[in-house]
Amino acid sequence: MIVIKLAWRNLWRNMRRTLITISAMSLGLSIMILTFSLVEGMNNQMVHYATKLSAGHIQIHKQGYFESKDIYDYITDSGTDVIRAIKRPGLSASPRLFGNSLASSGESSTGVFLWGIDPQQERRVTELSSHLLKGHFLTSCHGKEVVLGKMLAESLKVDIGDELIILTQAADGSLGNDIFCVCGVLQSIGDEIDRGAVIMGIDELRELLILPDKIHEICISLAHPEMVDVVKANLERILKGRNLEVLTWKEIFPQMKEILELNKVWTYIMLLIVFGLASLGVLNTMLMALFERIRELGLIMALGLRPLSVVCMILLETLLLGLISTIFGGAVGISGSLYLGAHGWNLSGISEGFSMSGVTVSTIIYAHLTMEGILISIICMILVSLLAAFYPAIKACRLEPVIALSTVA
């Protein structure tokens, strides 16, 4: 008990020094909490773009379609059978049909990827319909309207209301073509969609490709995305023997996992650097605090304080420094993260978005505060500072009382 009291009083003997050390540690801590939240937020946004804005959480295809993208690898009967079989609360499913074509605007032409969707059901699975740059989303499975990816609209030089000629090879080998009207342009999502997606009503695409009642994909979104692997195993059991393949978004974007991990690794490297430098400050402070007290330490040791208690006292001082810094740094870091979580950190002044392995990184980063980020930062800071205080502490307990007493500070 007396050791705690001693440690606390020692800390405030030199208020200025203690405050400067605390501010260095608090700054480090708050920066780390913010970094963790921002990286988590950025990772979440990328996952969000990959799942809720394109692939969904789980996809079901005919066995082999995902590898081959062969338009003859379809699911028959509009997949109603499958959709009924997998129906359960917390799971929404939507059918999709795909094709390839040449899109021409008169000005220019390019190869594109056609998406046939059911707008009503798609709305329940993805947020594509609200991720528009301009115009409006499709309203029904019919109608000669299309929504385009951002870069595609730019390179074809088309705007809302312009005509687009779609020329494609249908399933029976004949050439099909039709004229569509551009009704909407999507915001940036990822390279593939931005550069080549033409989204239309599923019935229109069936007509164009002559694939009546066929679909290529059942796109599924989950109310609890963290359950994705369990749900996948479940679905696989239910759909056994139907020659279908169930894939999670992690399998659809294999590079995603690596990017997320890479981002985490950089955060940990930064953690080491920031706290490493902050701990040099702690080391210096504690060493100075030790040297100016050599005589005094000699005295209390001569009076019977055991060396172990001296070690405890110095480590306690450091721990107190760490705890006070935790309060200040934690408060700043957490409130900063909450603020950036609510308002976002807008980097569009510096730069517009770019893509990372095909998935767009948005320029407005919303921080996402996690308990993990806070705890790792705090524990790391305290551990590193205790480590730094070890040297002064060992030095102090090795003092010879007689020699220490005769030292002039």
Binding site: G111, G281, S351
Partner: protein, 414 residues
Amino acid sequence: MKTMAILMKLAWRNLWRNVRRTLITMAAIGLGLALAMVSIGLGDGGHEQMIESGVRMGAGHITVQPRGYQKNPSNEKTITNETPVLRALKDIPQVREVSLRIVGRGLISSAANSSGIAFRGVDPTQEGDKSLLAPHVISGDYLSVGDARGILIGEKLAQKLRVSVGKRVVLMGQDASKEVSSSLFRVKGIYKTGVSDLDRYFCVISLEGARHFLGLEQGVTQVAIYLGSQFEVEKVLSLLRSRLGFLPIEVLPWQEVMPDLLRFVQLDDAGNYLFLGIILVIVALGILNTILMSVLERTREFGMMLALGLSPCFLFFTIMFETTILALMSMVFGGGLGFGGHHYFATVGLNLTGLTAERLTLAGTIISPILYSHLRPMRVVGLLIIVFLVTLVTGLYPAVKASRLSPVKAIYQY
């Protein structure tokens, strides 16, 4: 002069009164500086590698193309006669390589499937274009002279189309007269880079094949110019613009052709600077603490000196001198350490292959799995100046504090 000598001597001795403290402070400043040097080196080196790879995959350090092509790329825009461009490039020493190309997009089909692609018509003997994909060919061969009908496609595209070497594919697109045209090609080779954007989307044909497809007699759509170094772009650019101003073409640097890449580099730079700023502040707080404490423990001594007639100004400079010496020594130590780290990463490189199985792309370019550090002298000089100034500024407060001491009060202090 004599005062100066005394001042220096005092400062030097003061610094070594507490060897351990001085060394720890030096370590903090030095480590901060070394970290900054390594991180700037790796950041710049990484960016330069990305730009090189982007430029190599894309349209050169400088791109010459038909006027208006960047804003509105379409297959009917061509440079009908490339001779004046080539002539203008001839005597520019920085130009290392020139590649004539016809680029465009279309739909490729086989009996099984079809897919939207980008194609590039090249001269098969052009080494730069060859070196991009020829090493990655996994079956068949790279195009050779006279392969008017040959096409090189990526592995993922070959899978999707279910074709192998020797099989026929049809390329469909808008030709120069805005009509839809189609041409038959034979798969000459299949490549695999591991970058799915390329393997799925990018095809190479010969210039002749591309001309035939677009219905062109002659001409190209793009002249890609490669320079010896990416830092010479501006010089060559202005020279070329003045020489080629009379032609209906545009001469663009990579920054305008690949704005995505430029944006990423800028954003990443901003992030790095922010990080360095934070490191600097943490280090500065450490320095402040050391100097302030060393001043406070000498209050009595300073009081004595002031009482003996030392001018406050002199005292101020003594402490500033101390800080300067501390800063200079730390910079030598940190600079050496940082340079060593830089040298290691410049020769051995930072190997990221353990972290990533597949090759990642960023802003459309491949991230090299091994990062090599590159430090430009200007960056180092800038960094050293900043560290020096920050150290001096942190020394100001303790120095001012000491010079304002009242001798009488100071002497009574322990």
